[in-house]
Symmetry: C2
Subunit: 206 residues, 2 copies
């Protein structure tokens, strides 16, 4: 994903979302206001309302990008694995990718899971969040076919896996884990979590 400059052809709506993403990285959630984004984009504060129904609509649109980013990260990690990799190791890699992507974009990640801040009925938000979860369900189902918790309901199992990596990403990216465990390394906690969750799989190729 090259960090392209805003092309002049690009619509203001697009540009505003990108400015918001940049602001999330540099200043965090509280900077995501209509006026601030407009200012940063060099446009009058009324302009964003030509492209979004209101503040929480814009935020939902930004959060939708977050889900897309998460999906893409998981997908990229998946595609990067050697051909013979087992489904369980793939699930493991998906978990790692989720946590890494979240920790790399703490502001965006926080916004995505703050339903009081955004319009959760926004169409693109629902679609991207939904398809990210479906992606996880597919990966989980493949692992189930390979013997991982074969009797569990796939969506519920996927939800449990999601919750676990999500908790890790969330606590880590807000500094709570590092605060409680001085000298902790994310890798260690991630390894333990995923090993506990998925079990060890001595016979499977990774």
């Amino acid at each position: 994903m090259p960090d392209r400059e805003p092309a002049p052809s690009e619509s203001l709506g697009e540009r505003l979302v990108e400015v918001a993403l940049k602001l999330l990285e540099t200043e965090g959630i509280e900077a995501i206001t209509l006026r601030r984004i407009a200012r940063e984009a060099g446009v009058s504060h009324g302009a964003p309302l030509r492209h979004f129904a209101g503040l929480s609509d814009l935020r939902a649109e930004v959060a939708a990008r977050g889900f897309r980013l998460l999906s893409d990260s998981v997908d990229a990690a998946h595609r990067g694995l050697p051909a013979g990799t087992g489904p369980r190791a793939r699930l493991h890699a998906a978990g790692v990718a989720y946590v890494r992507a979240a920790v790399a974009h703490p502001g965006l990640f926080a916004l995505m899971f703050r339903p009081d801040c955004l319009d959760t009925s926004n169409e693109r938000f629902l679609r991207e969040a939904g398809s990210a979860f479906e992606q996880l369900v597919r990966i989980v189902q493949a692992a189930q076919d390979a013997g991982f918790e074969p009797d569990a309901e796939p969506r519920v199992l996927a939800g449990s896996v999601w919750a676990c990596v999500h908790g890790l990403a969330s606590l880590w990216s807000q500094g709570a884990l590092a605060g409680a465990i001085p000298g902790a390394r994310l890798e260690d906690a991630l390894d333990i979590s995923l090993r506990l969750l998925l079990g060890s799989e001595p016979g499977e190729k990774r």
Copy 2:
């Protein structure tokens, strides 16, 4: 914990915190402002500053109560178990208690993990958060003594367990899990998560 009426002897500082807790239950985080709490307590909006250094100090104080409540819930669940209960089943019960307490107080729970909203250097906040984690470490260590992941570093292991139940509590209490899995029941996800995390323990008394 009886829902006692504000005793006239009670200090205003105490009363404000209790009003804040009530507001969190009924209206959520955004209601937690100095002016709103003062209004609700029937006191002028300047009064709270006689008891707290500022808004984020008050919020930290409220969050500290949250950690205490979480600790107490886990503790009560612990004490309620039959005498012969194994350490692994005790860890399981602690996880269940954590999630239940969090889901029962979604506003408070959300506030506790919003470091941008509160003064994380507040003394009581640090103390209560710290002692809640220490409580978990002790429970985890007991499970380790009974053969659960005996070689893991106790604090990191505790962090992993924490992250997992925390993620479940967090996603559930904000409706994300229920949104992704129509008809989902918290109990099911909780059961799967904890079973995956702790493994099954056929020989142990529950």
